[in-house]
Symmetry: C2
Subunit: 418 residues, 2 copies
Amino acid sequence: MMTSREQALAIDSDDELAHLRNQFDLPEGLIYLDGNSLGALPRATATRLQEVVQREWGQGLIGSWNDAEWATLPARIGNKIAALVGANPGELVVADSTSVNVYKALSAALELALAAQPGRRRILSERHNFPTDLYIAESLARQHGCELVLADEPGQIPALLNEGDVAVMMLTQVNYRTGRMHDMAALNRQAHQAGTLALWDLAHSAGAVPVDLNGDDADFAVGCGYKYLNGGPGAPAFIWAHARHADHCRQPLSGWFGHAAPFDFTPSYAPAPGSSRFLCGTPAVLAMSALECGVDTVLAAGGMERLRRKSLALTRLFIELVDAHCDGHGLLLVTPREDAQRGSQVCLALADGAYAVMQALIARGVVGDFRAPDILRFGFTPLYTRYADVWDAVQVLTQVLGTGCWREARYHDKGAVT
Amino acid sequence: MMTSREQALAIDSDDELAHLRNQFDLPEGLIYLDGNSLGALPRATATRLQEVVQREWGQGLIGSWNDAEWATLPARIGNKIAALVGANPGELVVADSTSVNVYKALSAALELALAAQPGRRRILSERHNFPTDLYIAESLARQHGCELVLADEPGQIPALLNEGDVAVMMLTQVNYRTGRMHDMAALNRQAHQAGTLALWDLAHSAGAVPVDLNGDDADFAVGCGYKYLNGGPGAPAFIWAHARHADHCRQPLSGWFGHAAPFDFTPSYAPAPGSSRFLCGTPAVLAMSALECGVDTVLAAGGMERLRRKSLALTRLFIELVDAHCDGHGLLLVTPREDAQRGSQVCLALADGAYAVMQALIARGVVGDFRAPDILRFGFTPLYTRYADVWDAVQVLTQVLGTGCWREARYHDKGAVT
């Protein structure tokens, strides 16, 4: 059990991943525990963007689609992300937003499932899945005459699958509000036994925990570029289809960049081979160039297993220190204590005043975020979070809770919460 | 009739818009006639992006969603574009790619049209419309059990409307291959008389020609950020719905940023009021910040009518000079000579060797582009194109055609053409 800041500093000085923090430009004195919402700025990004803007766009102009290889950005960055999530080269592409990709992947999965088993009419997800996934599923359920069934708790999923009428199971591997992580391999097995296709949202997984899409036999996946991949605010997202589906599925956003021969300008659509068919419009070159710098910071760790070890050590330490120092203030740990069920974040519920406590923490330089109605959310990005940061964060949290000074913060509340 | 370069220089020195070129960073000595494909780099963009990356993202981190007003970028830049296309503030938003927005707008229009007149089963467009629009229409036609009907020539459109079974007419105002411009007001009138909704793609219109969406009574519109709006490669696009539809239509890409209360994290979708419902995922902050700089360069002209006058003068001059200097080489003008039917580009067909001629032009510093199978395409962005550029471009074209030296260029051809 850690009892002093010196102990934390000692672990930091032995940390073989400590140097990875130098890849980032972090504000002096800030403890940033919100990389699960917006990853920090890699040092390489500003320079790279200047190069893309001034040399590739400004000087190269239209020729840069070939000369600077803009046209292959979705596949090139896709291959880098593929290495982080257990996908093979060529199987994963970068495109659009996570929400748009959920639409493509869920639509593709539904069409395959309904063609194979026309009687099925259910999409299965969780009530506490990130809302955008549910909104998109609602739209596609309506379009296909399906029903969106929501499990109230993860434990209900196997029974719902066993009812035998679920076409597609769509889950987010690590829950945004609780940090709870599903067992992807087990759920894929259960889904397939029930004749159901499995679609995974890796928004809080990619770059945060080891993912093995092929090894765990998933069917489709999407993920986010601006959280643990450090791609910048609103960075492009990614999409993957298992090789057994990629050449056979159809996605409705059939734009020219997903065409087999976009520059033939033929009036009829013919999908590109494999996952390239998931591209739609012209690639967002500036945003993708920034994303590539972010993905490179994760690749620099030399493997997700190393990051996972540190991530678990950080979240475990945070939980232990909160247990030891914050007793009696009504905090409730909503993130599982079992390592295998925990992503790279820890969430604490506080029935009264969670929003104000988070504002007080932020005012004192500890940045997490608040999720309505009562969740304090802390993300631990192993690339740039130090053990001493965890110690300090809990000290500040203890202080805020103990003095009650956070009650004043209520008067400084802003309307919007992100 | 212009007979010397001095005359062109004299017009440039009298040009009240000449100073607008200083807003751009253009390569020395290059005549860039491809702003209809990728707009040139505004000088302001690099600095603005550095500010967004280093200060807003790097220092402000997650707080910048409020503090740097990232969350309102789609509406703020949307309002600026609205002023260029005859839309009211609040009616137009920036989001996603043009292809994705075609999907949203066409789907919304189709649902409205089919609800009002369930017997209709046709989407009307043109065979020579930009392919991505047709690919998306094909997908939605399939989804709704409709037929995509393609006019071979603009003149066929009224008769096809009069058949009375067209739900939605989807046209690009200025054709990408010919530069021909439709009469939007007249076609909207004809469409509405036939009970048809009108959806316009403004990819080659916004920032290029005056557009009056409300005045001309359009129903839906989308457009591109990286052509005449100078937003950078793959810049975000825009989408507009007439106020009579915006609160009543549904679009299928129902992501969280188009929700009435995204930060309430409710599991059910409820669309935001008006055109905000056309947003889907998290806004692409870096890309939108670059787009804003581009849009500002157009607003600096002080009105589309002033830009239009210069644009027409430039294209007219180009046509006159090609007539005078390039006779006998088999060039065919495919762009209308009538001002009212011409966008801001001029296209010449050349049955044999068009691709090689364009390569030879580019090698000599005159950048247009090639569109299969036989089109030489020249865009004239009035913000940065000078009359002397037009003179020089035709001189180089004459030289390339006359010496036949372009035949050598065939051996340097690259595979991909953008």
